[in-house]
């Protein structure tokens, strides 16, 4: 089967500082995977490379078999990859409804059209409504996104990410800064919306990671030191060392 994401020999340096140092990683389609690692390991940078926000210094990135190295974020998104951000990244002055609709428009083929009226685009409205239902934000549809509560904004962020129907989803710390009950809610949401899709997420909350992930990749100082099932990752002494300095049980 063609891998959903395939990184081969990816390097990234900012000036003299190498952040990503030769990452090879294969994400099989239809799996939920987590990318973990200590602070500063380069997890977000790796996300930014995969999604085209930063150019790679060397190496290739393939998305569903297609080489996407050096493409712009918008072009990579059109090939079926969508992402969320560590810091909430929404359209603050537009309504909740419009935020989701922005995520829908391109995928329905509206592109840069100035011949269609968005309010008459029933397919876009329908899809938006559906996503709003999933997010439990239908009642807040007319509220400007900038005034939502933090947890709602995080949910909206996931909503924009999945609205376009991309089949490869990258989530960057979707539960960061959330309370326990909010986290549970988001995990449930992620499980729902990534049904049958490929998910790669950066996450610090280990209970979320072990709850959701089929496989876990561990990134330490810009290198993937392990990529395996949760059970084996838990038992891996190198991972324990990276996290705790001494080989022990992972937190």
């Amino acid at each position: 089967m063609t891998p959903a994401i395939e990184l081969s020999g990816v390097f990234k340096a900012f000036g003299n500082t190498s952040i990503i140092r030769g990452v090879n990683l294969t994400i099989e389609p239809g799996t939920r995977q987590a990318l973990i690692g200590p602070n500063g390991a380069g997890k977000s940078t790796l996300f930014n490379l995969i999604t085209g926000k930063y150019p790679v210094s060397s190496g290739r990135i393939r998305l569903k078999g297609q080489d996407v190295t050096g493409l712009r974020p918008s072009e990579i998104n059109r090939r079926g990859l969508s992402r969320s951000f560590q810091v909430t990244n929404i359209f603050p002055r537009m309504s909740v409804f419009e935020n989701i609709r922005c995520g829908v428009l391109w995928s329905l083929g509206y592109r840069y059209s100035f011949r269609h009226r968005v309010d008459a685009a029933h397919d876009a409205t329908e899809r938006t409504e559906k996503v709003l239902e999933q997010l439990n934000l239908a009642a807040r549809r007319h509220v400007p996104a900038g005034v939502l509560s933090y947890a709602e904004q995080r949910a909206l962020e996931i909503g924009i990410t999945i609205a376009g129907g991309a089949d490869v989803i990258l989530l960057d710390e979707p539960t960061a800064g959330m309370s326990h009950s909010e986290t549970e809610h988001v995990v449930q949401l992620i499980r729902e919306v990534t049904q049958g899709k490929t998910l790669l997420m950066v996450e610090h909350d280990m209970s979320v990671v072990f709850d959701l992930a089929d496989r876990i990749a561990v990134l330490v100082y810009g290198e993937v030191i392990a990529h395996d099932t949760p059970e084996r990752i838990r038992a891996d002494p190198r991972v324990q060392e990276a996290y705790l300095g001494v080989p022990q049980g992972v937190a």
Partner: protein, 434 residues
């Protein structure tokens, strides 16, 4: 959930959003606008009314096109008059060609020529000006404006040097036997184009590209990650804005039958920025309001005082400092109170604050006018008529009176202002059923 926690912030954001101008939904508004435009010249019958309304119409189209950039696309241009002027010059030349019979072009279609001209140059200059947003965009727009100012000196034949390009709409062929010799005929032609352009620009804001212009304004990076190239979105908005600015320029050529390089200079670009901002960049009606009020003040004030530009500057300054949401924004803030039928409660406190403001304004204006009369030294008699009375510049009393009025008004405002604000907050309190 937390709906009640952030109503003020919500309102502030809501008025900033062009997309939710539900007021404009349906055709009723446009029909009303059409009727108003038709009857206006029969209702307002003072001598200068029709020429001023023509000027307003042109300003409305220009300001709306400017707000496609600033309000909807988040692009602050210091050179939008370039597309207005170039469209105008092309329209003037086209009209001259039509007058000589080289080109078949009936007068009513002239604004379209201006529009296409504006579009062509926006498509050209947009290739590099829209590659970046923010400060870079603003700086490039300034550079383009300078470039055109220099070009106007170099391409003498096209821009007509200091005299500019004159034209004559009476010489062009007729369409359906319509001729445009009298003011009122020109008024209806301009009104037609204003309505058409306004509808088109509103419709544009409701298309996928129009919505994505807002999205790119809010968060260009996020727009990229939902499949849209921020650069393309800006470029298309820029071209559309250039097109409508060109239409305004074409209307200008048609109305005044003369264009000079000044019409596309930095000054003209500044004026459209001022009127749009004063009206309010957050809603579709803002620029319309701004264009009407600004043009009105411009033509009225210049009859009464030599320092009218100073007053417009103060108005702009006050808008930026105290009400950056503009006039339309302030009006929309009152929408919830209006719907709850609680606007009546505001009348008293607003009236008191308004009177205080008026007193302060009279004081400040008196002082400014007296200073101006002294400095300009065009009053050898030492007497200047101010507020229907003769004021002697050389006596101390008027200075004291105006200073007193200014101070009293300011003190009154400090007292009445917070009360008006409190009344506003009270009228908007969520769920206040009293």
């Amino acid at each position: 959930m937390k709906a009640a926690d952030a109503p003020t912030a919500a309102r502030r954001l809501a008025v900033a959003d062009v997309g939710r101008a539900g007021v404009l939904r349906g055709y009723g508004v446009w029909l009303t606008a059409a009727v108003v435009l038709i009857v206006l010249p029969w209702v307002v019958r003072t001598g200068a009314a029709v020429p001023i309304m023509n000027q307003m119409g042109i300003a409305i189209v220009f300001a709306l096109s400017f707000n496609m950039l600033l309000g909807q696309g988040g692009m602050l241009s210091f050179g939008h008059a370039v597309y207005f002027g170039l469209g105008g010059f092309l329209a003037a030349h086209a009209l001259n060609l039509a007058g000589r019979g080289t080109l078949y072009l009936p007068v009513p279609l002239l604004p379209l020529v201006g529009g296409l001209g504006g579009l062509a140059f926006a498509a050209l200059f947009g290739t590099f000006s829209t590659s970046r947003a923010g400060t870079v965009f603003s700086m490039v727009s300034l550079a383009v404006a300078e470039l055109m100012a220099a070009s106007s000196l170099i391409f003498d034949r096209f821009f007509g040097g200091e005299e500019g390009i004159t034209t004559n709409r009476a010489k062009a062929p007729l369409l359906l036997g319509l001729e445009f010799t009298r003011d009122r005929q020109v008024y209806y032609l301009i009104a037609f184009w204003v309505l058409l352009a306004a509808i088109a620009m509103y419709a544009f804001s409701r298309t996928p590209i129009g919505r994505m212009a807002n999205a790119v304004r809010d968060n260009p990076e996020r727009a990229e990650f939902v499949g849209y190239s921020q650069r393309w979105v800006r470029y298309i908005s820029f071209c559309a804005a250039g097109f409508f600015a060109g239409i305004a320029g074409g209307l200008f050529a048609l109305n005044y039958e003369i264009l000079t390089a000044e019409n596309m200079g930095l000054n003209a670009s500044g004026v459209v920025l001022l009127m749009t901002f004063i009206g309010g960049i957050g809603s579709f009606v803002g620029p319309i309001l701004g264009a009407i009020v600004f043009t009105f003040l411009q033509s009225m004030l210049s009859d009464y005082t030599g320092i009218w530009l100073l007053y417009l500057g103060i108005l702009f300054l006050a808008t930026v400092l105290f009400v950056p949401i503009g006039m339309a924004g302030v009006l929309m803030l009152h929408a919830p109170a209006w719907r709850a039928r609680r606007v009546g409660r505001l009348a008293g406190p607003y009236l008191v604050a308004g009177v205080c403001g008026l007193v302060a304004a009279v004081g400040v204006i008196g002082l400014l006018e007296m200073l101006h009369a002294l400095v300009a030294a065009d009053t050898p008699s030492g007497v200047r008529r101010l507020f229907w009375t003769a004021v002697s510049l050389r006596s101390v009393l008027p200075w004291l009176v105006f200073t007193g009025l200014a101070a009293a008004g300011a003190l009154g405002l400090r007292w009445a202002g917070p009360r008006a604000a409190a009344a506003f907050a009270d009228a908007n309190r969520a769920g206040a059923g009293r």
